[in-house]
Amino acid sequence: MHVDGNAAAGLLTQVFARDMTGAHGTCGSCGHNGPLAEAVVYGEAAGTVFRCPTCDNVLMTLVEAPGRILARLAGLRWLAVPI
């Protein structure tokens, strides 16, 4: 069963040093725009995967490795961070 971007708030804060659940991402595949909190999130052995709630495209993947966190953001066209 999947959760949503809220569940990854702690990991996101470790990567971006600020809250990112309210940041809006634009899907590189279908153009859907919404807060990361509303992304479909699967926690798998390979990492935390954020998917577009509209088209299921992989927006972002976070992988925790010893001493670092790897972030792949290839599925996002834009990431808008409120300041």
Binding site: N6, A9, T13, R18, A37
Partner: protein, 237 residues
């Protein structure tokens, strides 16, 4: 917010269970002593990390049940065959140590300073936990925002924060108290039309609980005429 407050270096904080309080036969509130706790916002959560003697670690998220300004507390409901929740509900004792990462989350939060749009809180099972923090905060700050909770729960004996939530709308899905006016069943359109603020009032909704519950309820609120951007959701899995 000052730029300095935005930058958050997040680390695992040692925490001690200060108090354990049974809410129902299935749920327990753990009050935590967290040296250096920075305070939290209503609706935020923490990640809890447990480490076994052999070094094996498990991490789960738990919403903060207390209001901002109060000591951090979580309320955990036992998931049968779960790895972490049975430990926190049945085994952990005051004095035990856990690690905490948080408070985190800036989307599923409510603050009195927001524009005074009526707020509808919809919780399923343990999804009521962050909504309880929001309600407590709302009451303690004597905020004029109209706020209402609809709480879906399986049976009367499973209602958590019973005293505090008496005046709210309880919906029983399996068994009801004797003489309850509504037969057991899920929250439906008819009930929402009765208790939810009408869309013309530009309400803001917070929906939290098991993923299937959240999907069902956010769909029902959309059907009722709520705007997608005005429905904040948090899925527990």
């Amino acid at each position: 917010m000052a730029p300095a407050a935005l930058l958050q270096r997040l680390t695992w904080l040692p925490a001690v269970i200060a108090e354990a309080r049974a809410e129902t036969p299935q749920a327990r509130t753990l009050v935590l002593d967290v040296p250096g706790w920075p305070g939290h916002r209503a609706g935020q959560h923490v990640d809890v990390r447990l480490t076994a003697g052999d070094g094996y670690q498990a991490v789960r998220s738990y919403s903060l049940a207390s209001a901002p300004g109060e000591q951090p507390a979580i309320t955990v409901a036992r998931v049968a065959d779960g790895e972490v929740s049975p430990y926190l509900v049945d085994v952990a004792r005051p004095g035990d140590r856990v690690e905490i990462r948080g408070p985190v989350g800036g989307y599923f939060v409510w603050e009195p300073a927001m524009p005074y749009r009526p707020v509808l809180l919809v919780g399923g099972g343990s999804g009521v936990v962050p909504l309880r923090s929001i309600l407590r905060h709302h009451r303690q700050s004597a905020d004029p925002t109209p706020m209402r909770l609809v709480y879906s729960v399986r049976a009367p004996e499973l209602v958590i924060y019973r005293e505090e939530l008496q005046a709210e709308h309880l919906v029983y899905t399996r068994t009801t108290p004797p003489g309850w006016p509504r037969p057991a069943g899920h929250i439906d359109q008819g009930l929402l039309r009765e208790v939810a603020w009408p869309p013309v009032d530009s309400p803001l909704a917070y929906v939290c609980g098991p993923t299937a519950f959240v999907e069902h309820l956010s769909g029902a609120l959309l059907d009722l005429g709520y705007r997608a951007g005005d429905i904040r959701t948090e899925r527990y899995g």
